[in-house]
Structure formats: structure tokens, C-alpha cells
Amino acid sequence: MDSVLSEDPVALKILIAGGFGVGKTTLVGSISEIKPLRTEEVLSDIGVAVDDLDGVEGKTTTTVAMDFGRITIREGLVVYLFGTPGQERFWFMWDELSYGALGAVVIADTRRLTDCFPSVDYFEQRGTPFVVAVNCFDDASKHSVEDVRIALDLDPDVPVLLCDVRRRTSAKEVMIALVEHSLRTLTSAN
């Protein structure tokens, strides 16, 4: 299904997920020019009346900052990185974010591995290809990749990598692993 209109610019989306403070912002900043994207969103759709005259719809809004980065592969082919909001109450934003995403990087911190369970669950359920990047914090105990795989109960084909999100080369490896995994998922589905 190669594009016939090869002139059309292609924009791809990769999500960076994981618990609060796990290194999402650092990862996006290591590999791309990072910009804060402000999103002021309705907290809940329940009870939101659509009535322009009232002008009171969606009073319960909150400002969420999302990390947003851009990697230009060539002119007309750009990869966009979006750091997903770390708090579960902002998950309403995820469905739209993950639609059409090339894949996701779930960053894990072995000191609080449970923080990334919701992200893993989410992408498994959505069928979004993802890799788990274990961020090796200085004082983190060195868990083996296999230990993390078992603890997260991951499918055998899901790549797990050790990384240091502060390092550009490491961040690059994570991205490449994800796109390769996404490619395998694509070709095996055909």
C-alpha cells in the first residue's frame, strides 16, 4: 500500500508514555527540539450541553502541558513525538492521541515499575505497537531485561530495552527499536 501521491507530506506520530516523572520530557528533549504544547481540555464530557448561546458548556477545564517534539527525517517526512499526560485523570486525551500512532514508547522506572502498568495495559488493549524502555536511573538497581518482561507480563514479541533517556544515542536506539517493531507488526499483519 505504498503511497501513490509521494508528493504528499507524511506526518507520523509516536507517543511517549509512562508514569509521572519517569523521564518522558527528557527523552523527547534528547532526540528532538522540544516544545510545550498547551492543552486546555474539558475534564469530563458528562453533562456537557452543546448550547452556544449559553456559552457555559464545559466549565470544568484544566490546563495540561504536553511535551511535543519533531524529528525531520527529510523534507515531507516528519515524526512527531507526544509525551502523554502522566496522570490517569487525563486519559481521556489518550484515545485521540493514539489514533493513527505509529507506536508508543513506555518508559519504566524499576524503582516503581507499577507506574507503567496502566500504559502497558492501554497499548495492549488498543493494539498499538509499543516498546518498553527501562530508564536506568543512577541509583536504580540493575534489573535484567527479562525480569522486567516477567514483571510486566509482556508478550514475547514486545521489545524491552535498557536506556538512559538523557543520552541522545540511547534515545535514538529506543526510537529505532520502536519503528522496527512497528514494521514487524505491520508486515506480520499482512
Binding site: M1, L37, R38, I73, Y99
Partner: protein, 120 residues
Amino acid sequence: MSETPQWLDEEAGAFVRPYALTRGRTRTTGETLDLIATVSAVGDPPGGLGPEQLAILRAARSPITVADVAVELDLPVGVVRVLLGDLRDHGLISVTSPNAEGPRPSERILKEVINGLRAL
């Protein structure tokens, strides 16, 4: 009142709540715009547009993503979406969906991305 009203205060932030720019609307009419949908200005802007709409049309003189418009104008994505929806309804911007070819990119594109990342 000065000629160029300042709606921002360094201490207090915006004097105008973001959704005041959209007359309280938080949803676009029609299809929701993907964050990486590309928008381009079409034709000459008519009179009577607000400063934000004009700023969007300036930013979209060459194709630009919805997310980039929000960053450039320093406005929340939700607000930008509503404003873009209005401009689309008035035929002032064209929108290219990132997923026109289907939800997943082609094998060729992915291989190109892998090579591009390696070369970074």
C-alpha cells in the same frame, strides 16, 4: 485604551480566558482535527476576522500541523481546533488528514524512518 491592547499580564496570565476566543465553544463543528493534520491557508482572508484567526492564516501560509499552530500562537490545542474548524467551515483553510492512506504508514515509509533515525 492603547492602540494595541495587552490582554496578557505577566503576573496574572491572560486577562481573557482561552475559550472566550471561541465564544465558549469547546468542540469543533464537523470532524475533529488530528494534532498532526496539516492545514494550509486558502485564498485571501476576508475582512472581519479576529486577530487569532488572522494569526492562524499567517502561520498556515505554508502547510503546518495543528500542533505547530498551537505552539506558534501559544494557545491551547482545544482553542486552536475550534478556530481552525471555523476557518475550515468558511473555506479559508484546507485540511489534510495524516491518515488519508489508512491508519498505519506504509512499509516503505517506516524503512525510511528507521534509516533516517540511524543517520541522526
